[in-house]
Symmetry: D2
Subunit: 310 residues, 4 copies
């Protein structure tokens, strides 16, 4: 067993024993029902090794992690023109804040807060029916993960739609500024469904490989995005991937990462590893409490922080 394999197991064992696990998201029933003791970890290395631990094969709702794949898809459609409709700066506010939109005339701060992800969904909709855009995103994620079993959790999608008043507010608010082009309910349909994609840690870490490999699916494999675009998506994950706790995540973990309210985090060590972790309890900022801790531990032990000497 390699050192890394051992480390992944050790971290999983260590995390299992921590009593303070944060609060499971409770705004919709399917998320509230998840057992807070679950923990999964998967590390896919640049050499193609795969290390699993805990509940790494248990699917969970990826929620906002889908914003990374949707952003990649939107950049493929409209390129850098996307940045005329959404910014690239940390917001300094919560994931669902509407204040900044009023001040900045309907232009969201970045593609990873909800407002920005709604603009991205609007780009991906591109005049089609919502199910077409969703189908396209799903095929893209399956391709990245090399796994056709990835699907949308329909009860989650329906529950999001039934309770998502704040997102409905955001979409209509941006529509008032002309920054949502489709009828808001269609754009929201795409958004609520992409958030309901269910994946396990293995699938998620596999899907993140293109961000570790400078845009290639694997070394010598198909190009998903240019190396510059891969770097830039990583940069956005680092500065904006954890909402108003992005600075803290960079400080503690030192890796580009994107969290979801389902308790998952995708983290990228460029040139070294794609990592997925899952633990459903959230900290005060809405990011996985144990998941963040596990990544901090892993980055410390491996020296993978992008801020340290190689």
């Amino acid at each position: 067993m390699t050192d890394l394999a051992r480390l992944v197991r050790e971290i999983a064992a260590e995390m299992a024993g921590i009593p303070e696990r944060g609060e499971v998201a409770s705004y919709i029933a399917p998320l509230a029902a998840v057992d807070p003791s679950r923990f999964g970890l998967c590390v896919v290395t640049a050499e193609g090794e795969v290390h699993l631990a805990g509940d790494a094969l248990e699917p969970f709702s990826i929620q906002s992690i889908s914003k990374v794949f949707a952003l990649t898809q939107a950049l493929g459609k409209v390129g850098e023109a996307l940045w005329q409709r959404v910014g690239r700066e940390p917001s300094g506010t919560a994931f669902n804040s509407i204040v900044q939109l009023e001040r900045e005339q309907g232009i969201p701060r970045n593609p990873f807060i909800n407002a920005g992800a709604l603009v991205v969904a609007d780009v991906n909709l591109a005049g089609h029916a919502p199910r077409v855009a969703i189908g396209e995103l799903l095929r893209f994620v399956r391709h990245l993960a090399d796994d056709d079993g990835i699907a949308i959790d329909e009860p989650v999608a329906r529950a999001e739609q039934a309770t998502g008043f704040r997102n409905i507010a955001l979409a209509n608010y941006m529509k008032a500024f002309g920054n949502i082009r489709h009828p808001p309910e269609l754009t929201l349909g795409v958004y609520f469904h992409q958030c309901a994609i269910a994946m396990n840690c293995l699938q998620l870490a596999m899907a993140g490989r293109y961000l570790m490999h400078g845009g290639l699916l694997q070394p010598g494999g198909a190009r998903i995005v240019s190396s510059r675009r891969a770097r830039r998506i990583n940069a956005l994950m680092l500065t904006c991937g954890h909402y108003d706790a992005s600075g803290d995540f960079a400080f503690r973990v030192g890796l580009p990462g994107k969290s979801g309210v389902g308790g998952g985090i995708l983290a990228i060590a460029p040139g070294r590893a794609s990592i997925a972790v899952w633990s459903p309890g959230l900290n005060a900022n809405g990011n996985s409490q144990i998941g963040t801790l596990a990544l901090e531990r892993l980055a410390e032990a491996t020296g993978w922080s992008v801020f340290g000497a190689a």
Copy 2:
């Protein structure tokens, strides 16, 4: 001549020819008088090579770049307890905004906006006379740069003091919340003087080496800070080092960096290089326009972005 030596020269030549150079800071006379055509670049590599180009030996006012050294000094004094008085998150607002302070009860968002740097100066003051704290910082910077010629530009310090009403407002505002411990005018005295330190690109790149070397002054040399602290300072520079354009700098350059209104930028490629660039014209966000461009070009050509595969 090595490839890097050639690249540094090429970039300097290229930058010299760009007509649109931004606006030189005009709020004090000594800065307003600087010639916008100046450009300096210095790269110090992990192996100890030094590459200079343009006006790399011309001193300029480092202004907010001093916040990196002052933060390092304050962490040495009070350690992680510092974070009870200042946050670690991007602000989502301009460098001199006071709005966030009202909402967050006098706790500045991070140590690189002016309010945060004033708290850091207050920590460094530590009950002494301002000149003692300033002397200590100056000795620290001379030590880092291995150059006793570094000094404070007194006319700049005096001009800052005479016109710094917004910083006086910030300090008094935080004093009202109890987050400035000394009489505000003393804390402000430290701050205005640290901003007036004059350095050239060579001195600045040399002073940044400890952040490239995981906390060591040089490989095998004296330890300035722990490797963890060096990583964390780099993380803060990346997420907060360019005020409300930090996301854009991370997106375009991909290196931890700290800018100053004098037109300088210190950028760190961990394990690879410490870089100082200077061009006095500023972009709309108050960061060196040509300096940023030069760093973007350098990072692209060398692959030094922390977000790309090694």
Copy 3:
């Protein structure tokens, strides 16, 4: 002819000649089509005299003036308990701002900004179908004005509904905080229809009599609200009736008043007169430019300001 009759005519003549008339609201076609040269004025005195001038019999869209009648209706339903769901303070922001709602957890500042009026509409809906609530409000206004000819302008209501994204955002946003009790689309249906009530100046001044007569429809007539409630509605009109220009209206005119984006204003001189003015061009704050001027002139000439010696 009495002095007042002559004054009303003089003001109308004077207003007709003013070239700078503001901008007609253009967000929906039926409003954009209104001729900016129109001007109507009606004064109903405490003694029951009625003075008309200009286009005082021409119906216009009363828009936000309906908020006064809807508030009176809601207070009749739930009494002072209403103030648990909506505040009584000037907002310091524009009529359609959403910023304050985030800071104050979905509780609008007052019943005359859009968000507050949506809460009022939600109270008036009271579990019924929107057309029931609308029918009830319409009957109330007809009763107040003693005119069964008052009706809703359906094309205006439809146009509001088709373009009212910002109001849809406000309603959904407050729904997320639990401060809208019905499905937002139903509450919005009530709101869009109440704004589309069409009245002329005579009808509007007649409808405002209860606020002049301390809550009575007319001296010795039916009691609409208690005298205390009439005073309080007047107080709210004075402090909040002109959005973020309420202070200016109080300063210049000195009467409780409520403006609408259709160019109408209802103003009350307690114990003396109920006044309706209409001129469709709006000033920068969204209030009738010529209408405000006419009221300033009238209040100056009559000494009706509530701030002057009787």
Copy 4:
């Protein structure tokens, strides 16, 4: 004994028995030491009758009530040009908020929040030494009250100066925008001293007579300001006189009023009475708790609300 005389006594007796009296201001020692059980009331009628009750002859620190007299003085110096440097709208924020100043470029919302009062003090300073401006204001207030015994409480002024970091911040912040013309410390000197004027209820009610008499010191007496200006000052008191509780005061009391953190309130019933009340305990908005209640009771019993039929 007239009905009014009896009413004033009854209210004083009633107020004495109320156990919940709010919190006495504690930010400076001289205010913190005041006995919360004190209560004074003085009503001066249009006919010149004077009714006193309770501690009406006990001097207290008028604090922000001085802003009314200072505004009157400044309007006398620069007339309506004052409104280019300060607004006339309710702020929607606390008395010492700095947020609005950043958004609106150093122009305070109205002359009764601290920032606005600092601009007014800067106008009154007019190039002279602070003691000259203060002397002039003191003479003006003595003239209005017809009492040369009114003086500044020096220990209060010194305590304000020693702890007024938030006001120092406000002044320097506006100086940065050019909206304070003198050195901030001089303007602050005027402000801190005007707040420290000590008056009793009799003196205060006498000093407010010109606002009841349409600008005359007394019927047939000297003109202090034009009737229009008197109306306008009353309008500002009503919309802005109680900070972010101005709407509530208008709703409950219905009279123009200005409160101070010392527990005093000056209220004007135009054409009828000038009223001063004092009770040092403050409510959550910083206005006298018992004082507001007493005025509510008085206005209800007399029908003096400006919003009711005469």
